[in-house]
């Protein structure tokens, strides 16, 4: 299988790639199979499919895949910059620390962006107080890479009525419709809306030697034990290792990118599994550590030549953080849905995707039907109960027993606007377990972000009614205090004064430093970012490989 290879630390490898997740895993595979020697740094351990379990207590409540909570990471959060950020009990910034990154534990909802997503600023005009902008690329330019993701990573689905064009059909049909999808469709029909099949980065049929989904129902927060979820762990890393040109250096936490006298990235400094400082020389460095870790690492790599952090002459590193806002409406039905079986979502409504100026605010999103916290028993018992039911006793027990199989949630995933005030900085007081200054998030949703979430919550309540729920209740829309979509913090753009990387992911300031992950986003899409992160990664790798071959790095 894997041709394991170990590269010397004092001999520059072609590429040091920091992060093995949605972007890093793809770039590693693309560059190593093209013959370049790469070392991939992952701070978490190298878990394989057989290491994943259905143990809700450990995975969901003991942060098994997250590497521990804020006590370990030191992460802090505040809404506004005049507050002192504090360390809350749950990670304000959530991501998996494991080879394959968050593509291992995500729910794998997998929408393409639309043509409009890349040019909303031109379509809608400016929005004051924000850094709302067009992307420096169009849907036409990214479309071939969406197609590559679908066929090479493995995406199941069927085209929807509002999708932008596709050059090739989905490689496999959608996963089977669930009771929650049937109910959403029923409600949608009554209201004149359109429920479409949900695309997933989960195989409905075998692909490239990988097994199809067994509908075990443990997608959200869990790793897939059969490799049907199209994480980079399942789909890319094995190919990268088989090339004989890729070393996965797990349990290696990078704390600094060193630059040489010419101002070029030359070396990656990291803590190994024993916490000992190590260094790897590299001809070029690619940062794909996620929107929060990427920002922290660039800020930590400040030097005389780069006093505000590496690649940060614009001051845009860490800024424009976007989480994607959400809403959730829970409902109970007469008969069992058994929605704990199979993937989270089977149908989604995209009628409200586009901004409608008649609503009076920017934003749009999708509404899907899923078990959410009724996918597993403990989550259901703690978070899934209606507000009017006591939290213990006979009535509570009867309620969890009755509702577990009969409950679903209509969840919306929506937009966030890019703003200076929402950002990642280095916490001045806290450190993580390796001694690195902790990630500090400052975040307060734009009023329009909350308005669209509220709007979609109202539509979800109408849908619950139309679908025939015997009871439903909405979760309050309030400013976000945590995020798992980590977008916008090293945005791409043509102007070095207002962006960190160019349209091909090369940093404006350091010619042999590339950045590709959620941080590259200019706008937030509608809440399912991983498909676009992966498409960007295929595209970035193609340009980086071409530049390296032409000796232009």
């Amino acid at each position: 299988m894997a041709n394991s290879v170990t590269f010397e630390q004092r001999k520059p490898v072609d590429f040091a790639i920091i992060g093995s997740g949605a972007a890093g895993g793809i770039i590693a595979k693309e560059l190593s199979t093209a013959g370049f020697n790469v070392v991939v740094f992952e701070q978490g351990p190298y878990r394989r499919a057989e290491d994943f379990t259905h143990d809700e207590y450990s995975v969901v409540f003991n942060s098994e895949l997250l590497g521990g909570g804020p006590e370990v990471s030191g992460q802090t959060f505040r809404h506004d910059e005049d507050e002192v950020a504090t360390s809350p009990p749950v990670p304000p910034i959530g991501y998996a620390q494991t080879v394959g990154g968050s593509s291992v534990h995500f729910s794998a909802n997998f929408w393409r962006f639309r043509e409009s997503d890349f040019k909303e600023r031109s379509m809608l005009g400016s929005i004051s107080g924000t850094n709302f902008a067009d992307w420096p690329l169009t849907y036409d330019e990214i479309e071939p890479y969406y197609t590559r993701v679908e066929w090479e990573i493995g995406v199941s689905g069927a085209p929807g009525p509002f999708d932008s064009f596709r050059s090739k059909p989905f490689p496999m049909p959608p996963l089977p419709v669930k009771s929650s999808g049937v109910l959403l469709e029923k409600g949608a029909k009554k209201l004149g809306l359109h429920a479409q099949a949900q695309p997933h980065a989960i195989l409905s049929q075998p692909l490239n030697g990988r097994a199809a989904c067994i509908k075990c129902g443990h997608c959200m927060f869990f790793g897939c034990e059969v490799g049907a979820k199209s994480s980079t762990l399942a789909a890319m890393i094995p190919l990268a290792e088989a090339s004989g040109h890729c070393e996965i250096r797990d349990r290696s936490a990078v704390f600094r990118i060193e630059t040489d006298a010419a101002g070029r990235a030359s070396e990656v400094l990291y803590y190994d599994k024993d916490g000992k400082e190590q260094a790897q020389m590299a001809k070029a460095v690619i940062v794909s550590a996620n929107g929060a870790e990427t920002s922290r690492l660039l800020l930590l790599s400040a030097s005389e030549r780069h006093p505000d952090g590496l690649a940060n002459s614009s001051g845009f590193v860490g800024r424009n953080l976007m989480f994607n806002a959400h809403s959730a409406v829970d409902g109970v039905f007469e008969h069992p849905l058994n929605d704990y079986k199979s993937v989270q979502v089977s149908k989604v409504i995209h009628d409200f995707y586009e901004t409608d100026e008649a609503r009076g605010f920017y934003g749009g999103g999708g509404i899907d039907a899923r078990p959410l916290w009724s996918a597993t028993p403990i989550l259901h018992a703690i978070l899934g109960m209606p507000h009017d039911v006591p939290g213990w006793g006979a009535e509570w027990k009867a309620e969890i027993a009755h509702n577990f199989t009969r409950q679903m949630t209509l969840a919306s995933a929506t937009t966030s606007l890019a703003m200076d005030r929402n950002n990642i900085t280095l916490d001045p007081n806290n450190t993580d377990q390796w001694g690195r200054p902790a990630i500090r998030a400052t975040y307060r949703d734009h009023d329009d972000d909350l308005a669209i979430a509220r709007f979609l919550s109202e539509r979800s309540q109408e849908l619950m009614d139309a679908a025939g729920a015997t009871k439903y209740w909405a979760h309050e829309i309030k400013p976000s205090d945590n995020g798992v979509h980590l977008l916008g913090t090293a945005r791409m753009g043509d102007n070095p004064a207002t962006s960190v990387i160019d349209r091909y992911h090369r940093s404006h300031d350091v010619p042999n430093l590339f950045i590709c992950d959620g941080s590259s986003f200019v706008t937030s899409g509608r809440g399912q970012p991983t498909m676009t992160i992966m498409a960007l990664a295929f595209r970035a790798a193609e340009h980086i490989a071409a530049a390296a071959k032409a000796n232009k790095i």
Binding site: S179, H335, P336, L337, G391, W392
Partner: protein, 193 residues
């Protein structure tokens, strides 16, 4: 319950996550496996308690039985939640032990006698009067964990809580139809409706 209760539930849910994360990280996986094996044996053989003394165990057993009572269906008692308490509070939830002990002392003080010796009505009243106490929430969350977590952690004997919910958690793989509505839908599709 009102919205405040919803918020406090979330708050304590999350504080639990942190405490357990920190302590589980210190324990290697093989050690954890050994611990859970011991807990299961304790439950099956109704062995002596390790973390709790006999009086505490009697009181906490009685508290668990009010939080998740035995009705026409099994509750915390039948699930052996007390064995989860005893194991987890000595281990990954050791941060809870001090607070829940203090809480027990406080409510026993209010009752003027041990919780276990009180009537069910008195038990419910004292718990209700203290349900906004953060220490009560630690107790409630531990009880939910003990009732619904995998049986290997010491509670959920015979997976009876999963059966209560209709969660076939050991099965592991399914084919459509999954529930009533998709089964009906697929019949309609086949009939060309």
């Amino acid at each position: 319950m009102d919205n405040d209760s919803e918020i406090s539930r979330r708050r304590f849910l999350t504080s639990t996550g942190t405490l357990t994360a920190a302590s589980l990280l210190r324990i290697g996986a093989p050690t954890l496996a050994a611990i859970t094996q011991t807990a299961c044996t304790a439950r099956e053989e109704a062995a002596a308690f390790v973390t709790l003394n006999a009086d505490e165990a009697a009181d906490f057993t009685a508290i668990a039985a009010r939080l998740i009572p035995t009705t026409d269906t099994p509750g915390a008692t039948e699930a052996g939640v007390i064995y989860f308490y005893d194991r987890a509070w000595g281990d990954e939830l050791s941060g809870f032990l001090g607070p829940v002990r203090e809480f027990l002392q406080a409510i026993n003080g209010e009752l003027g006698m041990s919780f276990a010796a009180s009537s069910e009505a008195e038990q419910d009243n004292v718990l209700k009067a203290n349900e906004n106490d953060p220490r009560f929430e630690l107790l409630r969350i531990t009880t939910i964990f003990g009732f619904l977590a995998m049986a290997k952690y010491g509670g959920n004997k015979g997976h009876l809580s999963w059966e209560l919910l209709g969660f076939d958690g050991h099965h592991g793989a399914w084919e459509a139809p999954f529930g009533y509505y998709d089964a009906e839908y697929s019949k309609e599709q086949q009939n060309g409706e």
